[in-house]
């Protein structure tokens, strides 16, 4: 029998992991919801942002927050670049071509990162403490990552809910032509959406590099999980993705303590497959 305190600790760790996963899922979902394109290479952009933070902090010795800012700025820039160079020219192509194009980007980024930086795992070494609360041991890095994830998602919520451009992003997702008739250039709205999605990848990169080491195949670990969360929550459904992130992270975390880390993932993926039969539209089916 497992000591209950380990389960509680696993549950808390699950919530902390869920925060960063939710950030990844919301970034990917935002772009899908508006442009109807899945950026297969989304987590590989995160990987590049992690390298940016790694170089700024670990190699060049700048303060951690500078590394974070560098990751976000790079993410924003990458979001714009991916949209302008890859997505925009094929916006009216069949979905399969769009999928292949962003899939191609994934292989390009992985290979290019390997070419530049080899497959070495690189870590930002911060002397962040482990905190003990009531017999549980919690990593301070995870707590910070969780708090900043929540703040970033709150920022996204406020942007989408309370600004003209944010509301226009939601409106374009519902009716592109109608929004053009309101005076918004849909191309500009798409660009802003991609920039915001890219910046969120940058935030996620900055938060992941203080918990995990980065390597060219980082996307292979978190990419499938992120897509699974988006599909489980219902593609394009922001609230659904948010909820699904915590469902998945809890299963992985508690499963990991109960059986083994691998078993945690097995259970999570098995649940995903079952859910696809029961609720193919996502756990919270969007009602129009």
């Amino acid at each position: 029998m497992i000591d209950p305190i380990f389960l509680v600790e696993a549950a808390v760790n699950g919530i902390l992991l869920g925060g960063v996963l939710a950030l990844l899922a919301l970034g990917l979902n935002l772009i899908f919801g508006v442009l109807d394109i899945v950026w297969i290479a989304y987590v590989d952009l995160v990987m590049l942002c992690m390298y940016a933070a790694y170089f700024v902090v670990q190699v060049y010795g700048w303060p951690v927050w500078v590394g974070g800012v560098a990751a976000v700025v790079l993410g924003l820039f990458l979001g714009v670049a991916v949209h302008v160079l890859i997505i925009s020219p094929i916006l009216s192509s069949p979905p399969i071509n769009q999928l292949l194009a962003t899939g191609g980007l994934l292989f390009f980024l992985q290979s290019f990162a390997t070419f530049l930086w080899t497959t070495d795992h690189r870590t930002v070494r911060l002397s962040l403490p482990v905190i003990e609360i009531g017999g549980m041991f919690l990593s301070f890095a995870r707590l910070i990552a969780f708090a900043i994830s929540i703040l970033a998602m709150l920022g996204l919520y406020l942007l989408l809910k309370h600004t003209y451009i944010g509301t226009a992003i939601r409106a374009v997702a519902q009716d592109r032509d109608a929004m053009a008739l309101m005076g918004a250039n849909p191309r500009r709205v798409y660009l802003v959406t991609s920039a915001v999605g890219g910046a969120m990848a940058g935030v996620a990169g900055a938060l992941l590099i203080i918990q995990y080491s980065v390597h060219p195949y980082f996307g292979a670990a978190f990419g499938p999980l992120t897509f699974m969360i988006c599909v489980l929550g219902g593609l394009g459904n922001m609230v659904g993705a948010f909820v699904a992130s915590f469902v998945m992270s809890e299963i992985i975390s508690i499963g990991g303590v109960t059986w083994s880390t691998e078993m945690g993932y097995v259970v999570a993926f098995a649940l995903f497959i079952v859910m696809m039969f029961i609720r193919p539209g996502g756990i919270l089916v969007r009602r129009d």
Binding site: A171, A178, G183, D288
Partner: protein
């Protein structure tokens, strides 16, 4: 105010409008009537920039706007209330109206515009926080009209405003359009409900199979025998 001259337009191989010429002067209300598939909606879409004309010119207040994209045309003061209303169903009523004022020039007058829209359509104030998709058809049409007014337009294009509305609501809607007109807006309206629309406009054009077949004062056109038989149903 608006001069449409020799417009030919269509979709792919198909030509929906042939050499259409039409003009609207400031302060006027003008209707384009005609049967289904006559090209009425295409004409509206050409004027608001949703499709580019193949030939012909479109001049609004001295600016040549033919082929310009919709977000530029609305900035010149032409608001298009599209067929089927096309409100944003998942946004609230308030958010829909806010999007109507998306243009920087409209944002500064947001409060005044909102007051005016609420005065014209009190139901929109009552349903402020409600999702637009949950409104009734008539309320959605009011929202679409209100949203267009939020951009502070000079000319309003109305495409089939009465489509899909209950008869009682149709009468109410035409009354509201008349009120909007009295506020000083210039209106170009496309309608199948010929009898009703001729009561609220000054002039009308008859469009058939993509060509202007007749034009004239609303009363005179309504008196024409074949118009009466074909469209007015008298």
């Amino acid at each position: 105010m608006l001069d449409v001259t020799g417009i030919t337009a269509g979709y792919g191989q198909f030509t929906a409008l042939w050499d259409v010429t039409l003009r609207v002067t400031a302060g006027e209300a003008v209707a384009v009537v005609g049967p289904n598939g006559a090209g009425k909606t295409t004409l509206m879409r050409v004027i608001s920039g949703l499709i580019a004309p193949r030939t012909g010119t479109l001049v609004f207040q001295g600016n040549a706007l033919g082929g310009r994209p919709p977000h530029e045309i609305v900035a010149h003061g032409i608001a298009h209330v599209p067929e089927g209303r096309r409100i944003f169903p998942l946004l609230t009523v308030a958010e829909n109206l806010k999007m109507g004022a998306f243009l920087p020039s409209a944002r500064s007058d947001f409060t005044a515009s909102l007051d005016r829209v609420h005065r014209l359509f009190p139901v929109l104030a009552e349903r402020h926080r409600q999702r637009a998709g949950s409104l009734s058809g008539g309320e959605q049409q009011m929202l679409a009209l209100g949203r267009a007014l939020m951009s502070r337009p000079k000319l309003i294009l109305l495409d089939e405003p009465s489509l899909g509305l209950a008869p009682v609501m149709v009468l109410r809607l035409f009354d509201l359009i008349r009120q909007v007109r009295e506020e000083g807006y210039t209106i170009l309206v496309v309608e199948q409900n010929v009898r009703q629309v001729l009561k609220i406009v000054d002039r009308a054009y008859l469009l058939e199979v993509g060509r202007i077949k007749m034009e004239g004062r609303a009363e005179a056109l309504g008196e024409q025998d074949f118009v009466r038989k074909a469209y007015v149903g008298l």
